[in-house]
Chain length 408, copies 2
């Protein structure tokens, strides 16, 4: 059995790295804080007797050997990076629940048949480098390693440069071809309101929504806010504002389920008395039904073309990320459900609203996910919170689901 207190304590210790004033964390991918988080995780794993491998994408694998080292490992994991104003659970919970599985097995001197591994995937959040889940995507051969390594921040540093800078540019080939996996499980906070609202402790994740991400630049003409008549303007921010409104409308038009967000916007030159000449912004679309997601895409393209035309703007429109809705593997979902039933936890099946490393792993490895609630459904926010009971329950389900596969 899981030691819930120890798992909670590890979460709180890790949350000190990059802690923000409002009680959250800022541990953006491949920053010094991310390095400090990785170093602490590696130390804890070594203390628990694990061996460590690091691949060329900076993914970390901590391994507890099995009776049969030739069997592919049963793997769990998640990410240690956070949003700029992130919480103490998103990602790190899945990593440290995995560590707790290993510690609990050690406590019981239990030898699994297959090895057990805990993975830390690089840049899951997609905040410092887009898209999200980039390194689990490389592992799953959805992205080429060169594509992954060349992703850049908004001011031009690449993942390759930043991995090198923090010393996590590992020697291993970064795909599943060099690293077969028997099954993959990931524990995560729900990041939405459903479980808490329904009084459930565990979500058995059967599916994940599809996603499309876009980068759009509108270019008009900078000009003086005073003497430039309204009818001579080509105001890039007026155009971008109309798309923010259109994105919101598209989200509402495809209810239930659709989510549509403009999260990032950069205005140029961003001066009070200058008509904005250029605006760069992003769009994030989600839907569990691929056909609806495609309709949202068409709606967005139509809105952007209409607005560019009516405001007199040049447009650079790129879809930079797409993955179709995902269905998790039946036997893995069943292993999670069986662990839930054994413990008598209140639970429900659910569709993940967020993307997770498990989504890409599912493309190459039988995969399942375990959700626990989070307070008020709030995530990607410094106030993100969960109870020690939920945290322990999710860890227990993870342990039992992994054992079912490792000893199968």
């Amino acid at each position: 059995t899981i030691n819930g207190d120890r798992l909670w304590q590890s979460l709180m210790d890790m949350a000190k790295i990059g802690a923000t004033e409002k009680g959250g964390v800022c541990r953006l991918a491949l920053t010094d804080e991310d390095k400090a988080g990785r170093d602490l995780f590696v130390q804890w794993c070594r203390d628990a007797g694990c061996s460590i491998r690091i691949d060329a994408m900076g993914n970390i694998f901590a391994r507890r050997e099995g009776r049969n080292p030739a069997l592919p490992p049963v793997m769990t994991g998640s990410h240690l990076d956070s949003q700029p104003t992130g919480g103490r659970f998103d990602g790190v919970y899945g990593v440290l629940a995995g560590l707790e599985v290993i510690r609990a097995l050690n406590d019981a001197s239990y030898e699994t048949e297959a090895p057990v591994e805990v993975a830390v995937w690089t840049n899951e959040e997609g905040s410092r480098f887009a898209p999200a889940m980039i390194s689990s995507g490389v592992f799953a051969k959805v992205f080429e390693p060169d594509y992954g390594l060349s992703r850049t921040t908004l001011d031009g540093q690449t993942i390759a440069q930043e991995l090198k800078r923090i010393g996590y540019d590992g020697p291993d080939h970064p795909t599943v071809d060099a690293h077969p996996v028997g099954a993959y499980f990931e524990a995560h906070i729900e990041q939405g309101p459903i479980l808490e609202a329904e009084g459930k402790t565990i979500g058995v994740v059967t599916d994940a929504q599809g996603q499309r991400w876009y980068e759009i630049t509108f270019t008009g003409q900078e000009s003086h806010a005073g003497p430039t008549p309204m009818n001579r303007r080509r105001d890039a921010l007026v155009g971008a504002a109309r798309i923010v409104e259109a994105v919101n409308r598209i989200g509402h038009a495809h209810q239930p389920y659709a989510c549509a967000t403009v999260g990032l916007m950069q205005i140029h030159p961003n001066s009070r008395n200058v008509i904005p000449g250029k605006v760069f912004f992003t769009v994030d679309f989600r839907h569990p039904d691929d056909a609806v997601l495609a309709q949202m895409d068409r709606d967005l393209r139509a809105a952007c073309e209409a607005v560019a035309q009516e405001v007199g703007l040049e447009m650079d429109f790129k879809q930079i990320w797409y993955y179709a809705p995902i269905r998790f593997e039946e036997s893995c979902v069943a292993a999670v459900r069986a662990a839930v039933d054994r413990n008598g936890f209140a639970a429900r099946d659910m569709v993940s609203g967020a993307g997770h490393d498990a989504c890409y792993l599912s493309k190459v490895v039988p995969t399942g996910m375990v959700f626990i609630p989070c307070i008020d459904g709030i995530s990607h926010n410094e106030v993100e919170d969960a109870t020690p009971e939920w945290v322990a329950a999710g860890g227990q389900v993870l342990l039992e689901a992994m054992l079912a596969k490792a000893d199968a």
Copy 2:
């Protein structure tokens, strides 16, 4: 007479300081580039035999003595600071046209009755520090010196700190009380399309529009762009986008003349998959009729309150700057018009769409302004341009208008 070639050459030499790739300048107030521009101006003035005074707001006054040193000087001037993507003429033209007046008087060994001074006003643009025209405003006793010195950049440096850093925190008291002025003239590019469209070389500026500037912060709730249902969101950027649209609508609703702009916006945390929790943005309103400007203010307040309510946002709404439309002094306007007529320049009366240091000077000193056209009416843009003929014509009008007052 003015030496147009020399004036043009000085403009081009000054434009090397802070030159941008696209042919403009970035010489934000009190940066190292602004210091370099100031140093060059001071050197040129010393070479022309002027004495230099610097006041506590960093305003620079270069003085050519008159036959009667006890008379208050006839002053001209403008600013050397620019927008982030500014042009080679905005502000600097008025300063260097003033220097050319002094050089031309030297060439002619002409002694004026009253002294002649050229002023460089600190932070006219209002881009690095808001509001605009802060130091001419202190000079004209519209703002307290302490208010002026405590204006801050968006990341917290004050004018006082930055003046000290670049060595332009002068010893003189920064108001007209310590520095009486007989008359003030300012030459400037129009920054709008009217003169060029009508084939005029000179604008005789009779009035300037009033302005209102606002700082608005909407606070909603950061949350995950994936699992947060549309109907649970409090998206601060959706609110801000609606105000961008409302501001544009208010500008169009009060035609002719109204201008309405959102030039600056900062999104927090500005991450692709986070619903924006906080957005800070500015509004710039202009109108030549104070009553209409007041109506625009009421329209904005109503729009902001409605949007904050409908999106579920907290709002911090501040009007940070207001000045009523300005009428320039009759005898100064007449002196400009007489100089235009003497030279036979095609000209028209006009209302300034931009604010200028002359607007504040007009509150304490008889003041007039001279406009020259700018290509396509484009300003606050790196492509801002003017012809050597226009530049020379404006300098000649400035010289003659100043002489009319200095020898009166």
